[in-house]
Symmetry: C2
Subunit: 229 residues, 2 copies
Amino acid sequence: TIIAVLEDEAKRRKKLQGKKVMITAGPTREQIDPVRYFSNPSTGKMGFALARQAADMGAEVTLIAGPVSLETPPKVDRVDVVSAEDMYESAMKYYKEQDVIIKTAAVADYRPALTYNHKMKKKDEALGVEMERTVDILKELGSHKTGQFLVGFAAETQQIREYGREKMKNKNLDAIVINDVSEEGSGFGTDTNRVIWMSSLEEEVLPLLDKQELSREILHRISKELADV
Amino acid sequence: TIIAVLEDEAKRRKKLQGKKVMITAGPTREQIDPVRYFSNPSTGKMGFALARQAADMGAEVTLIAGPVSLETPPKVDRVDVVSAEDMYESAMKYYKEQDVIIKTAAVADYRPALTYNHKMKKKDEALGVEMERTVDILKELGSHKTGQFLVGFAAETQQIREYGREKMKNKNLDAIVINDVSEEGSGFGTDTNRVIWMSSLEEEVLPLLDKQELSREILHRISKELADV
């Protein structure tokens, strides 16, 4: 009957009712001086799509966003950050109370060892920039977690299953979404993704989906694994 | 009379009728590898506002844009570029036929000496990145120009008149718009600017204006100087 269908739909929609979900999204910027930085081409679309969908499914969503030009989805708490260090601090501030943590952010893995407060004056000669590693936020979350369901994203071009499985183990993740960026329609700035969902329970190749549909599929699988625990 | 007022307005609006105007806008990105780059926080707003206004005043506009998230204004020909080198090539391709060239782009002045086609694998240790100077597009345009009215932008925090005048001379500009970025409401990402207009004929401190109003003021002064020649 139609009533049953509507009830099903309503149940599906509220599958994350009462759950707290933290999502990191976008790139980070690592400043050399006030007008120069290192970054990467992440647009934040995947993380924002997940935040919108999670809120729609009833979750309380905290979205930690690097510098992106996207609007905050309805009913989502957004925390804006710039650098990997900022994002790390925000993530560590909010992770404890979460049920689910999804890391989609493309966090810079290197930053300039020195940051200048004033614009460097140009010189004619070459310039050596010493870079140092940033904190591995996902790994930190993996080693500190106290029951949170932790999901990572990986973009790989080869041996994607092996690298994905390895990353999941190294970083103590509960699931990983592996993006085959060598495939057309996947990767930075696209509206679609073709991914493999991998958890301790299952491994599943999903079809090419737009980021909103993919968010629904991912969150559906997360809510199922939460219920199974 | 009202008819006279309307005629005046129409005349003002078409002051750049038949003129070709090239504008560079936005930042450039200098890739280290496919997922890492150097850049700066330019949003392209000033250049896009100028392009919109110039087209509105009847000019044929070529807008050479770095990676920005802005829509192309009506009746503007847009050329998208990524790196300083791309922007240089496009600028040199189109400059000859122009009457006016306005450089608002925040072109990276350094780029990695080496670019990798594959994502660099992370290592635990520090990383030295060798940077080299990019071409000074504005200076190249200044030394090659054959009658084009060449306008530069400068962002300064101190001795702004002296630095502005010096830049105008060094780069063979016809005018320069000097942004006092130490003032509130001026600079990267803002919707307003407080500037000094400086040409061989005049020097004028303009009030705090939004970027669309400022574009009108700048283009009005350019069209006046073109007419005076």
